[in-house]
């Protein structure tokens, strides 16, 4: 199901409104639903629901007149933007004609929408970044991007879920792990849900190290990092 092809909060709201509707209908034929920026994929079982009936269910839905607001988590994610954690910050400064403090100020001033997951398990695409932070991907992907690195690409920003190769411009790092250990009793393996909002908060190195230690010893309480609105 394609919506108007545009990266836009209002259109993404519609995607989530339709998703919520289909979840409420709870048809046994619908197997999984994958929201993206401006499209919704519905996986269905032909033996339970025909394509025609599903299409009627989707196209027959009347979108609400008022903007849709799901109950969502608003995250505040601590990020250290200091040199050791930000290998591409200098490059970004040159390209954007901005000082590091300006980049940090702009990057931390926006509530980003979790538009979709992709690329890797647990990699959430967050947007939309301020035009001033628009930057292409690296020409050659870095062989190893460290877990927790915060990157920019196009008008998107995102957090690397593990130590992996990647081509985004790295401007900081969070001590929080976005992939959780469900065997330790944590509720969700991947902390963000599509539709959530994420705001970054600049922290100093000592705070980063303190939180890292808490994270490693399992003392971090995720509830300290979001509120439900």
């Amino acid at each position: 199901m394609n919506f108007q092809q545009k990266i836009d909060y209002g259109i993404n709201d519609r995607v989530h409104e339709l998703k919520a509707h289909l979840e409420k209908v709870d048809s046994p034929g619908i197997k999984f639903i994958v929201p993206s920026y401006c499209s919704l994929l519905v996986g269905f079982d032909k033996s339970h629901i025909s394509y025609q009936n599903l299409a009627t269910l989707v196209s027959g839905y009347q979108f609400s007149q008022i903007p849709y607001t799901a109950s969502r988590k608003f995250w505040t994610i601590p990020v250290c933007y200091e040199k050791d954690f930000a290998p591409d910050l200098d490059f970004c400064c040159d390209l954007m004609q901005l000082e590091p403090t300006q980049i940090i100020q702009i990057h931390t001033s926006v509530n980003y929408r979790v538009f979709t997951y992709g690329f890797l398990p647990g990699f959430a695409y967050l947007g939309i970044t301020d035009q001033k932070l628009f930057v292409p991907r690296k020409e050659l992907p870095r062989q190893k991007v460290e877990k927790g690195s915060v990157g920019l690409a196009g008008n998107q920003t995102g957090i690397y879920p593990g130590n992996i190769p990647g081509g985004w411009q790295i401007i900081g790092k969070t001590p929080l792990s976005v992939v959780r250990n469900v065997s330790r009793g944590e509720e969700n393996q991947y902390i963000f849900s599509p539709g959530d909002f994420v705001k970054f908060k600049a922290i100093k190195v000592d705070k980063f190290q303190g939180l890292s230690e808490e994270e490693n010893s399992g003392k971090i309480k995720l509830t300290d990092f979001y509120e439900i609105r």
């Binding site: 499209s39 919704l40 994929l41 690329f119 398990p121 065997s183």
Partner: protein, 272 residues
């Protein structure tokens, strides 16, 4: 009593444990995975009386050698190859008894690309969706099921050919007549880098240039067209979103066919 174990005497070219695809975490970017040839997988599990979701060995081209420390009931399906228990040759697509202490030898594929080995019972596995390749001398713990009713040899394998049925994708209408003619109904070569994530189709003459999409969900079976004009069929371990136009979708039957095509061989995409 010593626990039941399977020792890998020879791991072959690329052998993994696979089951049916799992879409439960697809919206978190976790690939669905699953056996490349689901029909051969279903057949093998059916033959040994397993649940359809049981994990089985998926071997690629070169087969595998397995040593059992228990009396195992096994079935071999998929790409055609020689099957031996010790020195004796046996049939594919049938129920075989492997006595404790003996070795099951799956030879190199004579035709096709992926051979499947199901064993009656269940592996003891960790919870990860993408299964790492099996390596030589690895020992896998197993819980054999000895009480099951074995349905017998009533399973007929599919006859593989190189015709791949395709349905229209969301961006099908983006293609001009000449692109359609280059893509469908004529032999295309499966590229060397093809594997469990994607199947690249080479030697396609497409001059048309396409815009990219805003990242949207893709599925195993989705055919994307790159800006360079290379069609890519996404396979079982594919990423969950993509930005290239999704011009077609290979059917389930077609995915099973494609699983058995070797890099360098030719396929024909047939729009239905």
């Amino acid at each position: 009593m010593k626990s039941a174990e399977i020792k890998i005497l020879r791991s072959g070219f690329y052998t993994t444990l696979q089951s049916v695809p799992d879409f439960s975490k697809y919206h978190f970017g976790v690939p669905a995975g699953g056996a490349m040839d689901l029909l051969a997988t279903a057949g093998a599990n059916l033959l040994v009386g397993n649940d359809a979701k049981c994990f089985i060995f998926e071997t690629t081209l070169a087969g595998v050698e397995l040593e059992f420390n228990f009396d195992a009931v096994v079935a071999v399906t998929g790409a055609i190859c020689e099957v031996k228990i010790g020195a004796t040759t046996h049939s594919m697509n049938s129920v075989l008894q492997v006595p404790a202490g003996s070795t099951l030898i799956i030879g190199k594929c004579e035709s096709g690309f992926r051979t499947y080995v199901a064993i009656s019972g269940e592996f003891v596995l960790s919870e990860t969706s993408l299964k790492p390749a099996i390596f030589k001398n690895q020992i896998l713990k197993f819980i054999p099921d000895e009480k099951k009713n074995i349905p017998g040899n009533n399973w007929k394998p599919m006859v593989y050919n190189n015709k791949i049925p395709v349905t229209k994708g969301p961006e099908f209408d983006w293609m001009s007549e000449s692109t359609l003619a280059s893509l469908f109904g004529k032999p295309l070569v499966v590229g060397k880098n093809s594997g469990r994530m994607a199947c690249f189709l080479d030697e396609v003459d497409i001059a048309e240039k396409f815009d990219e999409l805003i990242s949207s969900a893709v599925l195993p079976g989705t055919i994307q067209l790159t800006p360079g004009g290379t069609p890519i069929v996404l396979m079982r371990d594919c990423q969950t979103t993509g930005g290239y136009p999704r011009i077609g979708v290979v059917t389930e039957e077609g995915m099973n066919q494609l699983a058995q095509v070797r890099p360098g061989e030719r396929v024909v995409l047939a729009i239905g």
